[in-house]
Symmetry: C2
Subunit: 376 residues, 2 copies
C-alpha cells in the first residue's frame, strides 16, 4: 500500500505524508544512503535513533554482495539488516553507468562487469525489478540510462528513448508479476539539460502511470542554475498528487532550493561520505573539523544543533579523534551530519506548514555558506 | 574520595563495591580500554549505553596526543571525552616498555621516543602522576618496570628494585602535591614468575600504603598455570579491604579463573581488538563471524546474549558487513563483545553473592571453549 497526500503548500514547496507498507514518511524527506545494507559507520538501529523514517539501499551493491537471494532467504532487507523503517532501492543503473569501460547498453538491458571480481552480469528492466522485489524493497526504481554531462541533444534523446522503453517494460513486468505486491515502482525522468526532452520524459512516464516520479540525470556536473531549471521543468510536468524525488541531490543549499521547486524526496552521500572525511555541517555552513584551529574549540560541532553528538562532544574532541585516526571520529561526524540533514527537512516542512517557506529558504541561504571562507 | 567494601565472598572470590569520586563500581569489574580517549569503534556515550561504569585511558597515548595540557584545559578527560563514568589511567609504563629500542631506563625514570614522530620524552614517577592528575583521572597507576618473560631471577629482582623505588617516590609525590585530590593511586606488584619476589613486592607496596593494588607483569607470554599461581600468591599477600586489579588480563576463561583467586578488577584489549578483527565472544566460546559458514546463519552472534546487537542483528548480517569492509561490522562486534565481558562479570558477581562461585566457574569453563574447535 502506497499513498501520498500533500497537506500544505507554500509557493511551490509542498509538505505531505507518504504512507508505504505501514511506514509513515513526512515529506519533504532526506533518505540516508545505506549502500551495502547499512549506512556507512551508522548501523540501522543507530540510524533509527536519529529519527530517519526511510533509507536508500543500492541494488547494484546488494545484488553483488551478499546477493539478492540471500537477502530474500533472510526475510528481505528490513529483517536482514534489522531496519524497521521504509526502504527505497535504486535500480543499480547509476552505479553501472559509472563503471564506464565495464558496461555495454543494448536494447534488452545492460551488460556489466562487477567492480569486485570482474564477473559478467546482465541487468534488464525486468530482472532489476525482480531483484528489488527479492530485497523486499518498499519502493523500487526503474532501470534507466543516466545521460552524462555534457551530452548532445541527440545522445540525450536516444538515452531517453531507451529509458522510456525500459520504464514501460518495468511497469508491464510489475503488472504481470506482482501488481498488489509490497514493492512499489517509481519512474525516472531523464533528458539531460534539454527542456523539451525533460517535458516529454515526464509526460510519457505519467501516461504509463507510476507510484511516484524521480528526476534523474542531474547533479552530474551541470551548472547549478541549469540543475534547478531542469528540476523546475520536471516538477511542473508532474501531477501534484504523487511524490517527486530528486535523485542524488545534494548540498543543504541544493535541498532548500529544490524543495522550493516542489520536490518531496532526496538522497545524497554528501553528509555521510564527507562526514567520514572530516566535514561537519552546521547552520552557518560546513566546517573542516580536522583543522588545527579546532584543536581547543570546546564548543559543539554546531552550536545550533541538538543532536546526540552535539549534546555530548566538542569540536576539539572530534578533531582529536580524527587526528588519532579513530573510527569513532567517522561515527560521530556521520551521526551529526545525518541529524543535520533530517533536521533541515523537518524545519523546511514546518515552514511550509506555516506558509512561510520562501522566507525560510531566504533566511537559510543568507546564513549558510556553501564553502566556509576559512575552509582549507 | 575512594572507598572499597567487600560485600560477599565465595571461596576466594569477592563481590564488592568501589566508590570513587561519586562513581559506583560493582566488583568484580571489567574495564574497557579507551586508548586515545575513546574505546575504539565505541565512543563514550555508546559505551555508557552498555552499562560500563569505568573505562581505562592510556596515559602514554593521551600524553602524546592530544596532550595532557590540552585535556586539562578541556576540563579533564571526563569532560573532554563526554564520559560520565569513572576513569582509571595506566602509567604509560607498559606502552613504553613495548617500544623496545626506543626507550632507556635510568634510576630517575625512563627516556623514550614517540612512536608517532620519534620525538624524545622523559617520564619519571613524579611526572607520570602529574600527567594523570592533569587528565583528571580517578585512579592513577604508578610508573613501574614491566619485566618481560622469560627473565632471570636477577633481572626480575633488579626490575622490582626500581619498581619499588618508583612506587615510593610516586606515593611521596602524591602526598606532597595533592594528598586530598581526586586522583587516587594504585601500586603495582612485579616480580615476574618468582614467588618470593611477588610476595616481597606485595608486602613492600602494602607497607607504603596505596588505595589499591595491581598485579602487573603477567599475561606477557608465561604459561597460564604460572600466571594463576603468581596471581594467587599476589592476592594472598594483599589486604582484603583494598581493590585488586589484574592488569591486561584476559580471555573470558582467564577472568573467571582470576576472580576465583580474589581479583576485583580487569582490563584487556581482547574484546575490542579481536572484535574489530571479526571474533565474536559467546557463552560457548569465540566464533570467527567472518567465516563463510555464517553466511546464512540468521541467529544472533550469541543466542544467549541480550545485548542491543544480538537483539537486532544476525551472524549473517554482521558477516556480510565484515565481508563488505563496512565500519559497522567493527562497531557491532565491539559492542557485543564488551557487553559480553560486562555481562560475564555481572553474572560472576551474582554467583559470588549467592556463594556459589565455584559452581558458576565450573559451569562456565566446562561450556566455554577458549578456541572453537571449528575455528579457522
Amino acid at each position: 500500500m502506497l499513498t501520498f497526500h500533500v497537506e500544505h503548500t507554500s509557493s511551490h514547496a509542498r509538505a505531505g505524508t507518504l504512507l508505504v507498507n505501514g511506514h509513515t514518511i513526512p515529506t519533504p524527506i532526506f533518505m540516508p544512503v545505506g549502500t551495502a545494507g547499512s549506512v556507512k559507520a551508522l548501523p540501522p538501529t543507530d540510524l533509527a535513533l536519529l529519527g530517519a523514517p526511510i533509507v536508500l539501499g543500492n541494488t547494484y551493491h546488494l545484488y553483488l554482495r551478499p546477493g539478492a537471494d540471500l537477502v530474500r532467504r533472510a526475510g528481505g532487507l528490513h529483517r536482514f539488516s534489522g531496519w524497521n523503517g521504509a526502504i527505497l532501492t535504486d535500480s543499480g543503473g547509476y552505479q553501472i553507468f559509472s563503471l564506464q569501460k565495464l558496461r555495454k547498453i543494448v536494447a534488452e538491458g545492460v551488460r556489466f562487469r562487477s567492480h569486485l571480481d570482474g564477473s559478467e552480469h546482465f541487468f534488464t528492466p525486468e530482472s532489476v525489478y525482480d531483484i528489488q522485489t527479492a530485497l523486499g524493497s518498499d519502493i523500487a526504481m526503474v532501470l534507466d540510462v543516466c545521460t552524462p554531462y555534457p551530452a548532445t541533444e541527440n545522445q540525450a534523446a536516444e538515452d531517453l528513448r531507451v529509458t522510456l522503453d525500459w520504464a514501460r517494460r518495468s511497469k508491464q513486468h510489475q503488472r504481470e508479476t506482482c501488481p498488489e505486491g509490497p514493492t512499489h515502482l517509481f519512474g525516472i525522468i531523464q533528458g539531460s539539460v534539454y527542456a523539451a526532452l525533460r517535458r516529454q520524459s515526464a509526460e510519457a512516464l505519467v501516461s504509463v502511470g507510476f507510484d511516484g516520479y524521480a528526476i534523474g540525470g542531474l547533479s552530474v556536473g551541470e551548472p547549478k542554475d541549469l540543475m534547478f531549471e531542469m528540476t523546475r521543468i520536471s516538477t511542473d510536468s508532474l501531477p501534484s498528487d504523487h511524490p517527486r524525488y530528486l535523485m542524488g541531490v545534494g548540498t543543504p543549499a541544493d535541498i532548500v532550493r529544490a524543495i522550493g521547486t516542489g520536490v518531496d524526496m532526496f538522497d545524497c552521500v554528501l553528509p555521510t561520505r564527507n562526514g567520514r572525511n572530516g566535514m561537519a555541517f552546521t547552520w552557518s555552513g560546513p566546517i573542516p573539523v580536522k583543522a588545527a584551529r579546532y584543536a581547543e574549540d570546546f564548543s559543539p560541532l554546531d552550536p545550533d544543533c541538538v543532536c546526540p553528538v552535539c549534546s555530548s562532544y566538542t569540536r576539539a574532541y572530534v578533531r582529536h579523534l580524527f587526528n588519532a585516526r579513530e573510527i569513532a571520529a567517522m561515527m560521530l561526524t556521520t551521526r551529526h551530519n545525518l541529524f543535520f540533514y533530517l533536521d533541515l527537512v523537518r524545519r523546511a516542512r514546518a515552514a511550509i506548514a506555516m506558509d512561510r517557506y520562501d522566507q525560510f529558504a531566504a533566511d537559510f541561504l543568507s546564513r549558510y555558506a556553501e564553502v566556509s571562507s576559512a575552509n582549507e
